[in-house]
Amino acid sequence: MSRPEGETLLELRGLRTYFPLHSGPLRRLSGWLKAVDDVSFAIRRGETFGLVGESGCGKTTLGRSILRLERPQAGEILFEGEDILAAGGTRLTTIRRDIQAIFQDTHGSLDPRMNLRSLIGEGLAIQGVGRAERDARVEQLIEVVGLRREHLDRYAHEFSGGQRQRIGIARALATRPKFIVADEPVSALDLSVQSQVLNLLSDLQKEFGLTYLFIAHDLSVVEYLSDRVGVMYLGRLVELASAEDLYADPRMPYTQALLSAVPGSERMTGRPRILLTGDVPSPITPPSGCPFRTRCWMARDICASARPELREVEPNHWAACHFADEARAKAA
């Protein structure tokens, strides 16, 4: 799936979202957990940007920062050129219409005391849209996501996981957003249901011209839907390329390891499975230099002393590795 390069819809510039750590009886500030550490990239209008990485790499925090559910310490999030971190009050409410979310937890993200009509129409109700107009839009939306009008008076707990995710999608669409942060939207679903929800997301993108930030840990799911993919490790973006390039020619050793862990990839690509040793280092005390060096089979002295910047190793293919060219030779 590739599209012509479009204009930028959302751009992150040096985004840093840190969580303060407190210790001791007086809860004194003892350090920072750098969940997102100096991340910059741009998402183009109409594309699906996949964001992958292991649990705890900061991809969810990054999504939550864009949704203004976390407050970043530094950096800018430009949406259509406007820094949304600087927005407040009614301006923020207006921006929120354009940026919506689909959550992983289909159970917890739907209020158990609201029926589908109230759930899906909530965004419109918040905006002050009148009852009749709201009902009309909700009735249209429930069918758009593949459920039926008869379901509108029921409650979320009466539906299966896949159906609940459809409800969540309808709710996100209600305010006619331009951009949707989908945080692991299918990882809690059965395999058979996953593809249905992915197809729905893909259809909706075409129908409504949506742009997605698709966050997942499952690379095969990301490959299916994404135009471009970013790889995160310990709060940093370590590789960024079109989905095709990334899967065919990963330049960062971490990405290579991640891809080789996809079931069946040995057979498909002929590349041997790379088994990483050791655990992910703590994001509270990340390693010096390259964050991946403690588990990297190619690490040398320079990796400990100098942090590799994200650089364009090939047109539109960015990697943060001192040996990105060598890594390619080795993997080939």
Partner: protein, 303 residues
């Protein structure tokens, strides 16, 4: 249920539908559904009967709770005095009926006042948390550390005796109790993903508190309210007993009870009849509370 008369909706997608779908009645069916809940129906029945007696009896017969008859003191129940008479020869039926109105209204006043103020404080502290929440909850802890009767006495002493002041005094005991319960529940709800979802939709704090947090902490509030409706009656009686609250000769169930206990060995009817009404009232209210708690939670299956 009428919803089942409509045709069963078709599955949406072959493998993604049907499982886990149950029929839920629309919201306007609420009362009808609630009445099928046995304890709710029983509680409502008991409370309706009590209300009927308290409202209708004075309309059907002239009741004077203060009329004394020195020739008929401690008369046992008879056709002339359905519930007997007390030490002044006052008709107990008149006193129970008229006193019941005072008691029921005062109890409602206590839980409404204490509940609204306490829940509001708890919601604010629980939702916003931080330094504000911490400060509020330490105040609540301070109030909770006082024995309830001491708090009520202090407030009564400041405001002076009287039924209204008594209600305020007892509501003051309830405020920290509600605040503590609601704060705990609100903290829990605040961190649930659907609150994030509402924030993403542009909801204000007020919207989230009223539309998401309050409905989801309401089961606890309802149970606490129905429990305290009964306890409030006893507190009002206690205040009356020590000279604050309701002043004699105004009849009130609690006051009649504490008065009648002096004569329980020679005139059981003075305590038994108001006691019976008080107990029935408390039981009825609690049954309603159980039913409401179940019915207001759509995730609890009724089948």
């Amino acid at each position: 249920m009428s919803a089942q008369a409509t045709p069963d909706p078709m599955p949406v997608a072959p493998s993604d539908a049907l499982d886990g779908i149950a029929h839920a009645a629309p919201a306007h069916d609420f009362l009808r559904r609630a009445l099928r809940h046995r304890s709710f129906a029983a509680g409502l029945g008991i409370c309706l009967i009590i209300t009927l007696i308290l409202v209708a009896a004075p309309l059907l017969a002239h009741l004077n709770p203060d009329a004394q008859d020195p020739l008929a003191t401690f008369a046992p129940p008879s056709a002339a005095h359905l519930m007997g008479t007390d030490e002044f020869g006052r008709d107990m039926f008149a006193r129970v009926v008229v006193g019941g109105r005072t008691t029921v209204l005062a109890c409602l006043g206590v839980v409404v006042l204490g509940g609204v103020v306490g829940s509001t404080i708890g919601l604010i502290a629980g939702f916003f948390g931080g330094a504000l929440g911490f400060a509020i909850m330490r105040m609540v802890d301070l109030l909770l550390a006082f024995p309830g009767i001491l708090l009520a006495l202090a407030v009564s002493a400041i405001l002076g005796p009287g039924l209204v002041n008594g209600v305020i005094a007892i509501a003051a005991i309830l405020v920290p109790v509600y605040a503590r319960l609601v704060e705990g529940a609100a903290v829990e709800v605040r961190h649930l993903p659907y609150v994030d979802a509402a924030t993403t939709l542009g909801a204000s704090s007020r919207w989230i508190i009223l539309r998401h947090v309050l409905p989801n902490v309401s089961p606890g509030i309802i149970v606490l309210t129905t429990t305290w409706l009964g306890i409030a009656a006893l507190w009002i009686a206690a205040l009356g007993f020590i000279g604050l609250g309701v002043q004699p000769p105004t009849p009130e169930w609690g006051a009649i009870l504490s008065d009648g206990q002096n004569y329980i060995t020679i005139a059981w009817w003075i305590t038994v009849f108001p006691g019976m009404f008080l107990a029935l009232f408390v039981v009825g209210v609690n049954l309603i509370g159980d039913g409401l708690r179940d019915e207001l939670d759509p995730t609890l299956s009724r089948r």
